[in-house]
C-alpha cells in the first residue's frame, strides 16, 4: 500500500518535472513566436523586403502622396555621426524611391556597425518594402571614413488611406564581435 503510493508520487513528480522542462523550453519558444507574430501582424515596426523586380511591377498610384520622414540615431557609445541627406520626401505609393544616408566614423580605428530599422506607425510597417538597404549587411568604416549609404524602397499601394506620413528610423549599433578594436 505505502509502496504503491510512493511509486505513484514518484511518477507524478517526474511528470510534473517534464511539464517544468517543457515550460522552460516554451520560454525560449516565445522568442520566435513573438517574431512570427510581429511579422504576420506588422507590429513592432518590422519592415518588409521585396526584390527589385517585384517592386518594378507595382502600379504607381499617381493620385496619392505619402510623406516619408527619415530619423537617424546612434545606439550606445558608437563614435559615429549618422544623418539622412534629406529629412523627408514625398512619394507616390508604388513608386521605387531612393534615399541616401551619410555615416562618418570619428574614431581613430575601423569599426563595424549594424543599422536597425523601424517604421512608425507600427500598423503601416508591413506596407513599407525595401529592395535594397545598408541595413541588410554590416557596414565597416575605416578610421575617419565618410560613407554614403543607400536605401531603396517602395510604399505598398495598399497602404491604408488614413496614413499620410511614414517615419523610417535607423539606429546604428556597434557590432562588437566584428570590430577591429575588439
Amino acid at each position: 500500500m505505502r509502496g504503491s503510493i510512493d511509486q505513484a508520487n514518484k511518477r507524478l513528480g517526474y511528470k510534473l518535472l517534464a511539464v517544468t522542462l517543457a515550460m522552460f523550453g516554451f520560454g525560449y519558444a516565445l522568442v520566435p513566436l513573438y517574431s512570427v507574430f510581429c511579422e504576420l501582424t506588422g507590429l513592432n515596426g518590422k519592415t518588409g523586403r521585396i526584390s527589385a523586380e517585384t517592386a518594378a511591377s507595382e502600379t504607381i498610384d499617381q493620385n496619392r502622396s505619402v510623406t516619408v520622414e527619415f530619423v537617424t540615431s546612434i545606439g550606445g557609445s558608437l563614435p559615429w555621426k549618422f544623418k539622412a541627406k534629406v529629412a523627408k520626401i514625398s512619394v507616390h505609393p508604388g513608386a521605387a524611391t531612393e534615399a541616401t544616408f551619410v555615416a562618418v566614423n570619428e574614431a581613430s580605428f575601423p569599426i563595424v556597425g549594424r543599422a536597425v530599422p523601424s517604421v512608425a506607425p507600427n500598423s503601416a510597417a508591413r506596407y513599407f518594402n525595401k529592395t535594397e538597404c545598408f541595413c541588410f549587411t554590416e557596414q565597416k568604416l575605416a578610421a575617419g571614413e565618410t560613407k554614403d549609404m543607400v536605401v531603396r524602397f517602395v510604399v505598398d499601394p495598399r497602404l491604408p488611406a488614413d496614413v499620410r506620413t511614414l517615419t523610417l528610423a535607423y539606429t546604428f549599433f556597434e557590432a562588437p564581435e566584428l570590430s577591429a578594436n575588439n
Binding site: 525560449y28 513573438y34 536597425v116
Partner: protein, 534 residues
C-alpha cells in the same frame, strides 16, 4: 513558527531523529520543514522591511539626505526581490507544508526528501543575492523586473542575481511539485476534491501556476545571462534582438506570479472568516471555480504591465478587456466572504481582525488595479506612485495581512499555547492604521505625477511623502510586536484546546495541540471529514 521544544517530546517512538542542527539539516518531516520555511520568511520579511525603511527615510524629505541614488535604486530592487521571493513565497510554502498534510489527512508530504531539498536551496539563493551588496558595482539596482538593457549594466552582481533567481525558482518549483503530488495522491479516503479546504484548493492552483510560469522566468533570465556573457542577442537591438521582447517574456511569468502571491491568501480568508463568523463558507464551489478562472486569466493579461511600450490598438483593447474581466471572479470571492459574514455571529479575535482588514484593504487594491487596467488612463499612472500604492495594497494588506492572520490562527495549534490576545490586538491596530497612513497618500502622489524608483522628488510632493514615511516607520516597528507575540506563544502561555477556536472545522483541529511529530499515520475515519463547506 513553533520550535523544537514544541513537539520534541512526541518523537521518541519514530525511527532515527538526530538532535541539534542535524535534525534541521536532514529533516524530512513536513512540520519541521514548514517551521523552517516560516522562520526563513520572517527573517526575510525583516531584511526586506529594513530596506523599505531606508527607502522611506530617504523619501522623508525632498533632496538627497541619507543614501546615494545608486544605493537607493539597489534598495527598491532588492526590497522587491527579497519580499516576493524571500518572504511571501516561502511563507506560503511553509503554510502548505504545515497544513496541507494535516488538512487532507496525510502522514506527510508526498516527496519528503525533495521537500528538504527545496527548503535548503533557499538560504543559498539568498546568500548569493544578499552577498551582492559587498561586490564591486553594488547590488542590482535596475529594478526587480530586470529589464534590459539597464540590468546588463549591473556590476559583478549580475551573474549572482541571475543564479539567485534560478535557485529561488528551482526551490519554488520543487515545492509546487511536492504539493501537487501530495494533494493528488495522499488524500485520506473520503476526502474528495470538492471536500478539500479552500486553502488546499487555492494552493493546488497556485502550484500549477508555479510550474507553468517560473520556468519561463528562468528562461528569460538565462537569455539575459547569455546576452551579457556569451554573445547572444535575444534582447540586444545591435544583434537584431528586441528589448521589449524581454518585457513580454518577463510578464508572461510576472502576471501569474502576482496570483501565486495572492491565491493562497484567498484560501486563508476562506478558512478564517467562516470560523469566526460561525457560519459555513458561502458559495464553496463558486470559490473553487473563481480561483480557477483567475488562474486561467492570469496567463492572458501580461501586457497590461507594459501598455506604454507602443502596442497596437487591438493589443491594448485585448489586454484591457481581459484584465478588467478578472474583476468578475475576484468579485465573486469578495461577495462570498461578505455573504458569509451576513447575519452571522462574529467575534473579533486577532486572526479575524486581520482577515476582515484583508478583505476591505485588498478590495481597495483591487479597485486601483481596475483603474490601472484601463489602458488610456494607465498612460498617466504608469511608473508612478499610484502603481506603488496599488501593489502594496494587494501585497502588504493582501498577502502579508493574510500571512499574519494565518499565523495567529494556527499558532495555537502548532505550539499548543494561546498567543497573547492583547499584544496581538495592539499589533493589529497599529499595523492597520499605519499601513493606510503609509500607502494611501501614495495614490495621491501617483495621480499628481510622482515617478517611482527615484530617490528625490519635486517639493510639491513633500507633505504626502512625509506622512507616508511616518506611516512606514510605525508599520515597520509594529512588526516587532508580531515577533514578540510569536516568541511568547512558542515559549508558553495558556494551554490551547485541540479545536482552539469554537467555530473551527477541518481535520487539523481534530489533532492534539500541538500535533504529534507524525500525524495521521493511519488515515482519519471518513466520518470525521466534514468537507470544505464548513
Amino acid at each position: 513558527m513553533s520550535d523544537a521544544a514544541a513537539h520534541g517530546e512526541h518523537d521518541e517512538h519514530h525511527g532515527y531523529h538526530p538532535g541539534g542542527m542535524k535534525r534541521w539539516l536532514f529533516t524530512t518531516n513536513h512540520k519541521d520543514i514548514g517551521t523552517m520555511y516560516l522562520i526563513f520568511a520572517l527573517i526575510m520579511f525583516f531584511i526586506g522591511g529594513a530596506m523599505a525603511m531606508v527607502i522611506r527615510l530617504e523619501l522623508f524629505q525632498p533632496g538627497l539626505q541619507f543614501v546615494e541614488p545608486q544605493f537607493f535604486n539597489s534598495m527598491t530592487t532588492m526590497h522587491a526581490l527579497v519580499m516576493i521571493f524571500g518572504a511571501v513565497m516561502p511563507a506560503w510554502t511553509g503554510f502548505a507544508n504545515w497544513l496541507i498534510p494535516m488538512m487532507i489527512g496525510a502522514p506527510d508530504m508526498a516527496l519528503p526528501r525533495l521537500n528538504n531539498w527545496s527548503f535548503w536551496i533557499l538560504p543559498f539563493a539568498f546568500t548569493l543575492l544578499l552577498g551582492t551588496f559587498f561586490m564591486p558595482g553594488g547590488a542590482p539596482a535596475g529594478g526587480w523586473t530586470m529589464y534590459p538593457p539597464l540590468v546588463l549594466q549591473t556590476g559583478d552582481a549580475f551573474p549572482f542575481l541571475i543564479f539567485a533567481v534560478h535557485f529561488m525558482g528551482a526551490s519554488s518549483i520543487a515545492g509546487a511539485i511536492n504539493i501537487i503530488a501530495t494533494v493528488f495522491n495522499m488524500r485520506a479516503p473520503g476526502m474528495t476534491l470538492m471536500k478539500l479546504p479552500l486553502f488546499v484548493w487555492t494552493w493546488i492552483i497556485t502550484a500549477f501556476l508555479l510550474i507553468a510560469s517560473i520556468p519561463v522566468l528562468a528562461g528569460a533570465v538565462t537569455m539575459l545571462l547569455t546576452d551579457k556573457f556569451f554573445g547572444t542577442a535575444f534582447f540586444a537591438a545591435s544583434g537584431g534582438g528586441d528589448p521589449v521582447m524581454f518585457q513580454h517574456i518577463f510578464w508572461f511569468f510576472g502576471h501569474p506570479e502576482v496570483y501565486i502571491l495572492i491565491l493562497p491568501a484567498f484560501g486563508i480568508a476562506s478558512a478564517i472568516i467562516p470560523t469566526f463568523a460561525r457560519k459555513p463558507l458561502f458559495g464553496y464551489a463558486s470559490m473553487v471555480y473563481a480561483t480557477g478562472a483567475i488562474a486561467f486569466l492570469s496567463f492572458i493579461v501580461w501586457a497590461h504591465h507594459m501598455f506604454t511600450v507602443g502596442m497596437p490598438l487591438a493589443g491594448e483593447l485585448f489586454f484591457m478587456y481581459t484584465t478588467v474581466l478578472i474583476a468578475v471572479p475576484t468579485g465573486v470571492k469578495v461577495f462570498n466572504w461578505c455573504a458569509t459574514l451576513w447575519q452571522s455571529s462574529i467575534t473579533f479575535e486577532v486572526p479575524m481582525l486581520f482577515s476582515l482588514a484583508f478583505v476591505i484593504l485588498f478590495t481597495i487594491g483591487g479597485f486601483s488595479g481596475l483603474m490601472l487596467g484601463i489602458t488610456p488612463v494607465d498612460f498617466q499612472y504608469h511608473d508612478t506612485y499610484f502603481v506603488v500604492a496599488h501593489f502594496h495594497y494587494v501585497l502588504v494588506t493582501g498577502a502579508i495581512f493574510s500571512i499574519i492572520s494565518a499565523t495567529y490562527f494556527w499558532l495555537p495549534k502548532w505550539t499548543g499555547h494561546m498567543y497573547d490576545e492583547t499584544l496581538g490586538k495592539w499589533h493589529f491596530w497599529l499595523s492597520t492604521i499605519s499601513v493606510n497612513v503609509l500607502f494611501f497618500p501614495q495614490h495621491f502622489l501617483g495621480l499628481a505625477g510622482m515617478p517611482r524608483r527615484i530617490p528625490d522628488y519635486a517639493v510639491q510632493f513633500a507633505d504626502f511623502n512625509m506622512v507616508s514615511s511616518i506611516g512606514g516607520f510605525v508599520f515597520g516597528f509594529s512588526q516587532i510586536l508580531f515577533v514578540m507575540v510569536i516568541w511568547k506563544c512558542v515559549k508558553g502561555g495558556e494551554k490551547a484546546t485541540d479545536r482552539v477556536w469554537e467555530g473551527a472545522h477541518g481535520l487539523e483541529w481534530t489533532l492534539p495541540s500541538p500535533p504529534p511529530y507524525h500525524s495521521f499515520t493511519t488515515p482519519p475515519a471518513p466520518a470525521s471529514i466534514e468537507g470544505g463547506m464548513r
